[in-house]
């Protein structure tokens, strides 16, 4: 268990090493380094390091230099990841890779891209034009042109399964991932189309159209510059990143449906406040707090009392989600316990169900 705020501030740059793992692995002739580190080493490290009980630094808003550093980190991640993507495409085009090596390269970059989407998510909640544009560039490079509009819609409708993004009980991650992507595109399209019509703007101002024009232009650019290998890598990393992001969304909200007349609260997002995951994903596990304060920067989010707890860190639960019978067996009893706690007037969650919170 780690509670030092300064240590956490020092830990955030760890995220920037994620996109660097792919070139490092190939330089060391270890093409599977990234998947092994992410899916093998990180779950073990998460267990060893423990949970994150740090609070945001006191007086941070008066410390302009530290604020600037913290604000810069997601941007730096974005730039480093874009460079990594370009490197990977040119490497795939230049070097005669075996099928296994090509798959390893695509997965390695795809994992960095999977972190790039939550990073873009952090940037899109900011109000500056530069950050929003960088977020849109990053999501377009992941062929996720509607992410910005869909994500804002997600905030407005979380806990309402008919809008997607909240998997109902019994739905597997595979069914959820596809349906949520399609439903998300529908949501983004309808919201943005209504806005464009209402504001009498031209269709070129339609952000979903802009996002996909950019995405397909990037695909064409990768294909033109680096041939079929570049194009395949570009599409492969994007599909993998979107799939991972959908799994994260599944982990966040599975089964936590808003009841009639119920207000959104910390109980509508699963949590496991793993210190390492938080450093690598800019506090993505403080998801309850993020939903209650959407425009709060990542470094001011913290764990909340009342957030239900996942049995293990995201890295471990990622694997569990991929095996639906195991997932249902682990999570559905927790949903039952949550429901019992809701019906009980004291609303007290069992210790095993309570996510760690800051004290």
């Amino acid at each position: 268990m780690i509670s030092g705020a300064n240590l956490k501030v020092a830990g955030y740059p760890l995220a920037i090493f994620m996109p660097m793992l792919a070139p490092l692995g190939f330089a060391m002739h270890l093409p599977w380094l990234t998947p092994v580190v992410v899916f093998g080493l990180f779950p073990i490290l998460s267990l060893i390091i423990g949970e994150d009980r740090s609070l945001p630094l006191i007086g941070l808003r008066r410390d302009h230099e530290r604020m600037m550093y913290l604000n810069m980190l997601p941007r730096i991640y974005g730039y480093v990841w874009i460079l990594c993507l370009i490197w990977a495409a040119s490497y795939a085009a230049r070097i005669d890779l075996t099928v296994g090596q090509f798959v390893a390269l695509t997965l390695s970059v795809g994992l960095a891209s999977a972190v790039a989407i939550p990073t873009a998510h952090e940037l899109l909640h900011r109000r500056s034009w530069e950050d929003t544009m960088l977020a849109r560039l990053m999501t377009s490079l992941c062929l996720y042109g509607h992410m910005l509009n869909e994500h804002l819609h997600h905030h407005a409708t979380v806990g309402t399964p008919q809008y997607g993004s909240t998997a109902t009980r019994g739905v597997s991650v595979y069914r959820f991932a596809l349906s949520d992507f399609v439903q998300g595109l529908r949501n983004a399209w309808s919201v943005e189309t209504a806005r464009v019509k209402r504001c009498c703007e031209s269709w070129w101002r339609h952000q979903v159209i802009q996002g996909y024009v950019a995405a397909f232009s990037f695909a064409a650019m990768f294909g033109t510059l680096w041939g079929w290998a570049g194009l395949l890598l570009f599409v492969g990393q994007a599909v993998f990143a979107i799939f991972v992001f959908e799994i994260i969304t599944y982990l966040h909200h599975y089964g936590l449906v808003l009841k009639e007349g119920e207000e959104l609260g910390p109980q509508h997002a699963w949590a496991h406040h793993c210190w390492l995951t938080n450093c690598l994903t800019f506090n993505n596990t403080f998801h309850s707090d993020h939903h209650l304060r959407p425009n709060t920067p990542y470094y001011e989010l913290h764990a909340m009392y009342g957030a239900p707890r996942l049995p293990a860190s995201y890295f471990t639960m990622f694997w569990v989600a991929l095996v639906p019978p195991l997932w249902f067996r682990l999570i559905d009893p927790r949903l039952d316990a949550l429901e019992r706690a809701r019906m009980d007037s004291s609303h007290e969650l069992a210790e095993s169900l309570r996510a760690a919170y800051c004290r």
């Binding site: 909640h125 509009n149 819609h153 997600h154 905030h155 409708t157 806005r195 209402r198 207000e263 959407p294």
Partner: protein, 251 residues
């Protein structure tokens, strides 16, 4: 922000710079100091800048005064703003004009101009400044006790600078009004975005979907905005926000 103007302005470039710095000043006193030096360069002595904002059928006036305060007191007491031929000229025109060229059509207007002459505006220049869609109109009166020929020479030499000066004053006024309103009403970025959505005539549900907040929060925020702005509904909130410079008016 400290005034950049320590010494009298002596060249076109220095006045041009001074005019462009106006938008960066934080207080009215800084703008008044800078304005006095600029009109001194024009060879004139007095000025009043009036900003008129329109919202629906209503009009609101505010003034930046660089002349004898007694004149403003007299002007307001007599409600001369209702018949002021210079305001009427600015509402219908965008070009600067010599005050003597503006026709006086009523005895009240003649009395007004005679009183103005006794308070430093014997002759002068009227410079209109229009915001986009003319929802906010500025009128810069530049005056002197010299005769009309003197003013004409200044006008011929400095006409473009006078226009730039009036436009910068209008922009500064807009920004100052916006900042003051934001601080006084304790509004944040989300409040402004919600006002923007209300101006676009977005429903509460559309605003929620586009801004990424729940419907109940949108409704609660609109109720709070209505209370803060002391209005009964979204339409009135938008009208008031335009007057307070919080929103740009639609064309």
């Amino acid at each position: 922000m400290a005034s950049h103007l320590a010494e009298p302005l002596s060249s076109f470039e220095s006045v041009d710079d001074s005019i462009s710095w106006i938008s960066g000043y934080e207080t009215e006193a800084e703008v008044l100091d800078a304005s006095r030096q600029i009109i001194d360069y024009f060879g004139l002595q007095t000025f009043v800048f009036g900003a008129l904002s329109r919202s629906g059928e209503r009009e609101h006036y505010r003034y930046l005064v660089g002349c004898d305060p007694q004149w403003c007191f007299l002007y307001n007491e007599n409600r001369w703003y209702a018949i002021d031929p210079c305001i009427d000229y600015a509402l219908k025109n965008t070009s600067p004009a010599l005050a003597s060229q503006i026709p006086l059509t009523t005895p009240g207007q003649e009395r007004l101009m005679a009183a103005a002459a006794e308070h430093g505006f014997r002759s002068g220049v009227v410079v209109p400044a229009h915001s986009p869609a003319s929802t906010r109109i500025g009128v810069l009166y530049l005056g002197t006790n010299e005769n009309d020929d003197y003013v004409r020479r200044s006008y011929d030499r400095h006409r473009n600078l006078m226009r730039a000066f009036a436009l910068e004053l209008l922009e500064w006024w807009d920004a100052w009004l916006r900042d003051t309103s934001l601080a006084e009403l304790d509004l944040d970025d989300l409040d402004l975005e919600l006002l923007q959505k209300a101006q676009e005539q977005a429903t509460a549900e559309a605003a929620a979907h586009e801004l990424g907040i729940t419907l109940s929060r949108v409704k609660w925020r609109y109720d709070r905005l209505n209370r803060k702005l002391n209005v009964a509904g979204k339409r009135q909130a938008v009208e008031k926000a335009v007057v307070l410079g919080l929103l740009k008016a639609h064309a």
